[in-house]
């Protein structure tokens, strides 16, 4: 796990599920709902926690002007398969609720009280240009003041999360929000 270019945590031996749990433990996070989440939501929630910690002041912007725009390729298939396995016995409502790829956005919004715009796009691969266009529309038209955006995908043992915090107010370590900068960060870490 890398934040602002600095490696924060490594674990090359764990399987995907254990890796998520070790991150949760490493950062001493405490959020009982975490254990109920599917893998995609765990991945997104953990990444957003690390992204926002120490960076983002809760209440700095009105809730209605904070949002989340994400993309992935495998939708919620990781949980879809688990849910459909349950159907053979007794269909599980707690697995069914995660059979939508936008639920992870709901989880991030609940945690941070983000109440503004949100969207989940499905793409073959991360399309930074499209993301830049979408988020810039929301920022330039004064619809959002801050937005968490990026890529979030989890299926079987393959996963990747790359989230970006975009704000109106410039911070010390801020980079220009651009397709090039997002691609640079996205492509320099993890598998494609």
């Amino acid at each position: 796990m890398v934040k602002d270019g600095a490696a924060l945590f490594k674990n090359h031996t764990a399987n995907a599920q254990d890796f998520l749990l070790t991150i949760y433990q490493h950062f001493r996070l405490s959020y009982p709902k975490f254990y109920k989440m599917d893998n995609l939501s765990k991945l997104g929630w953990l990444t957003s926690e690390v992204l926002l910690s120490g960076k983002f002041e809760a209440g700095a912007y009105p809730p209605e002007k904070t949002g989340v725009i994400l993309a992935n390729t495998n939708s919620s298939l990781d949980d879809d398969i688990k849910y459909f396995e349950s159907v053979k016995d007794i269909a599980s409502p707690s697995l069914f609720v995660y059979t939508l790829p936008n639920i992870v956005i709901g989880e991030i919004c609940i945690r941070n009280n983000f109440k503004g715009e949100y969207a989940l796009f499905i793409q073959d691969e991360f399309d930074a240009g499209f993301m830049e266009q979408q988020v810039n529309y929301l920022m330039d038209n004064d619809i959002l003041d801050a937005c968490v955006c990026g890529w979030l995908d989890f299926l079987d043992q393959e996963y990747k999360a790359a989230l970006f915090l975009v704000e109106k107010n410039k911070g010390d370590t801020s980079l220009l929000f651009s397709e090039g900068n997002m691609n640079g960060i996205f492509n320099s870490h993890g598998e494609k």
Binding site: G67, T73, S92, E107, K115, G116, E117, Y118, Q123
Partner: protein, 378 residues
């Protein structure tokens, strides 16, 4: 530079009620419902109420592309909408937007999970096939955002056109009902055992429905005089992943923002096409939101009793019918509705309403705490 107007150029509904917008509108005028009782052991061991295509329905005369039912629905709907317009898919100024909640998920029920199925099941695979079928040159935009997908797809198209990225957007949504989706809603105890009753005091859940719908939008000024999508907005409850907001405040916010974005006020809204799923919590939340937005005296309908909840197509199906309602001066009653829940203070449309209308609001809400609203008008 001021933003260009976004015109509605053509549309289609492809549902068990009819294969064109005109057919669907006529059937609704005749008081026909697509929701009826079905016995289909592939979906459920007990009989159930839903809006489904006939099992032997032929969606495309020659299915040379070996498309799935989901893909065929989209192809049929898009074909009909494009035929009514002069939009050229090959034009680089045209973008395809696809909306669906579960796409090809039914393949999980009949095929073995392997790398090939993983690909076939993905929405991008379907979108790429459909895009190639018509010859679209731009990468398709795919939205999968629970039950607001269709409305969000229109909002996304509106914004892509306003920002000048494209000149035309072909926006299509579809979902197919199978055991996967049915069993899930059943596990939530969200399904009604009869035709659903939106906003009624005795409402007891929703009906599922399948279908597709398409809306084609354009900023080309030659379409001046057509209806326009005036604005839209999205909000999140930040409350619960599978239950709506306790207050409805966040949907109110989306409604108000969509009116601001459109440059209209509550007084300019002539009717509301609500989400109205007929679940206890959704309808109450929505009624609260409509009242808080100052729209409690504006006629509201839900079309879920006719079509069921068509998931990723719902926002498009209901917008297309509402656009016809504007054109023909006729708002449909809420099928299944008889007596207003006493906790609600809204004006549910209970019989055919002749109306001289200029603008309507279409709302949607869904799992993940999402809400969306658009304003369409003259």
């Amino acid at each position: 530079m001021s933003e260009p107007d976004v015109f509605v150029v053509a549309d289609n509904i492809f549902s068990p009620l009819g294969k064109t917008t005109a057919e669907n509108f006529t059937r609704l005028k005749q008081g026909l419902y697509a929701v009826k009782e079905h016995n289909d052991p592939d979906i459920s061991t007990a009989s159930f109420f839903a809006s489904l295509f006939d099992k032997h329905e032929v969606f495309l005369e020659r299915n040379t592309g070996n498309y799935t039912k989901f893909e065929l629905l989209l192809i049929a709907s898009i074909t009909n909408a494009i035929e009514q317009s002069d939009i050229d898919p090959v034009d680089k100024k045209t973008v395809l937007i696809i909306s669906s909640t579960k796409g090809n998920i039914s393949l999980l029920e009949t095929e073995t999970y392997n790398a090939e199925l993983k690909k076939k099941i993905s929405l991008s695979h379907s979108a790429n096939l459909i895009s190639a079928h018509f010859g679209f040159v731009n990468r398709p935009v795919i939205i999968s955002n629970a039950c607001i997908s269709g409305v969000l797809a229109i909002i996304t198209g509106l914004r892509l056109l306003r920002s000048g990225q494209y000149e035309n957007a072909v926006i299509a949504g579809a979902d197919v009902i199978s055991k996967f989706i049915f069993s899930g809603f059943q596990s939530f105890q969200a399904l009604s055992q009869q035709i659903c009753k939106p906003f009624d005091k005795w409402r007891d859940g929703l009906n599922l429905g399948e279908g597709a719908a398409t809306v084609i939008l354009s900023t080309d000024k030659k379409h001046k005089g057509n209806m326009t999508v005036k604005g839209g907005a999205v909000s999140n409850d930040a409350n619960h992943i599978s239950g709506p907001s306790r207050t409805g405040k966040e949907l109110t916010y989306a409604i108000n923002k969509s009116m601001d974005d459109s440059g209209v006020s509550a007084a300019d809204i002539d009717f509301i096409s609500a989400h109205g799923t007929a679940t206890i919590f959704n309808d109450e939340m929505e009624a609260n939101a409509i009242t808080m937005a100052g729209l409690q005296n504006v006629p509201v309908n839900s079309l879920k009793g006719y079509y069921g909840h068509t998931l990723g197509a719902a926002g498009l199906v209901e917008s297309v019918i509402s656009i016809q309602s504007l054109k023909q001066g006729l708002v449909f009653p809420t099928a299944g509705f008889q007596e207003l829940d006493k906790n609600m203070n809204i004006s549910v449309c209970a019989s055919v309403l002749p109306i001289k209308a200029k603008n309507f609001i279409k709302t949607a809400s869904g799992f993940g705490g999402c809400n969306a609203a658009i304003v369409v008008g003259e």
